[in-house]
Subunit: 121 residues, 2 copies
DNA sequence: CAGGATCCGCTTTGATACTG
DNA sequence: CAGTATCAAAGCGGATCCTG
C-alpha cells in the first residue's frame, strides 16, 4: 500500500479539475452542435428537443461567460443571433471526444453495474 | 456554412455523453485519491477537507453503483472499510487526465474570460 | 425571432448531531 | 471508525406568459 494522502492535495485548485460543473447537461451537446459551424438560436433548439428556451439561453450565456462561445446579434427585424465556438471552445473538443469515446466504449458496463447494484438491493 | 442539424442527433443517447453528471463535484477528486491504491473512509476525508461524511458516503455509494469503485467492509471492532478503483474506474483515469490537462492549460483563459465578462456587465 | 420575467418543484449539497 | 438522521439551503430545470 501507499503512504498517507497529502492533506494539501487539492488546496491549490478550486474547482480546477472540473471547471464546467454547472450547466453541463446541455453544454456538451451544444458544443457538438456548434462544432461544424455557427448556428442560430432556433437551429440549436431542433436537435436539443426537450430544452426550453430559457435553459438554452442560460446555458449559452454561461458558455459565453466562460469564453467558449461568442454571441453575435444582428440588428434588424426579425432579430437574428448566431453562436460560434471560440478557439478556447474548440480546444475543448479534443478532451470531449476522449470522454465520449470512453462513454461509448464503457457505458454498457456502467449501466450493467448500475442494474446489478439496484437489483441487489 | 453547413446544412441543417439532424433533429435525431441525440435521440439515441440518453445521457450518454456525460454519464457522471451528478456527484461530480467530488467524484473526480475521489478517483484521484484512489489512484495510488485502496483507501479507508477516513483517509479520504483528509485531502477532501470540506467534505462532510454524509456527502462522502453518498458519493462513494453512487460510484459503487456505477461500478467505478468497490467497497470492502472488514468485520470487527473498530469497523474498517476500504474503497478501491475497479477496472472500469481505472479505465476512466485516462480520459480524466486528458480533461485535467486541458484544465491546467486553459483554465487561466477561462477565468480571464469570466472576469472580463463580469466587469463588462 | 430570440429571449426575459416569474413562479414552482425536484434534486443536490451542507451543517449538526447522533449511533452500531 | 464509518457512517446515519434530521433539517435547512442552494442549485438546477422547467412551464407559462410576455416583449422589442
Amino acid at each position: 500500500m501507499s503512504e498517507q494522502l497529502d492533506p494539501e492535495m487539492f488546496s491549490a485548485c478550486g474547482n480546477v479539475v472540473l471547471p464546467m460543473r454547472t450547466h453541463n447537461k446541455w453544454a456538451f451537446r451544444i458544443m457538438v452542435c456548434l462544432e461544424p459551424g455557427r448556428r442560430r438560436f432556433s437551429e440549436l433548439r431542433i436537435p436539443l428537443r426537450e430544452i426550453t428556451p430559457k435553459v438554452l439561453a442560460e446555458s449559452l450565456r454561461a458558455m459565453e461567460r466562460d469564453g467558449l462561445v461568442t454571441r453575435t446579434a444582428y440588428p434588424g427585424v426579425p432579430p437574428r443571433v448566431e453562436y460560434e465556438l471560440t478557439d478556447l471552445g474548440r480546444s475543448l473538443l479534443g478532451p470531449m471526444r476522449v470522454w465520449c469515446r470512453w462513454a461509448e466504449e464503457h457505458l454498457p458496463d456502467l449501466v450493467a453495474a448500475r442494474e446489478s447494484y439496484d437489483t441487489a438491493v
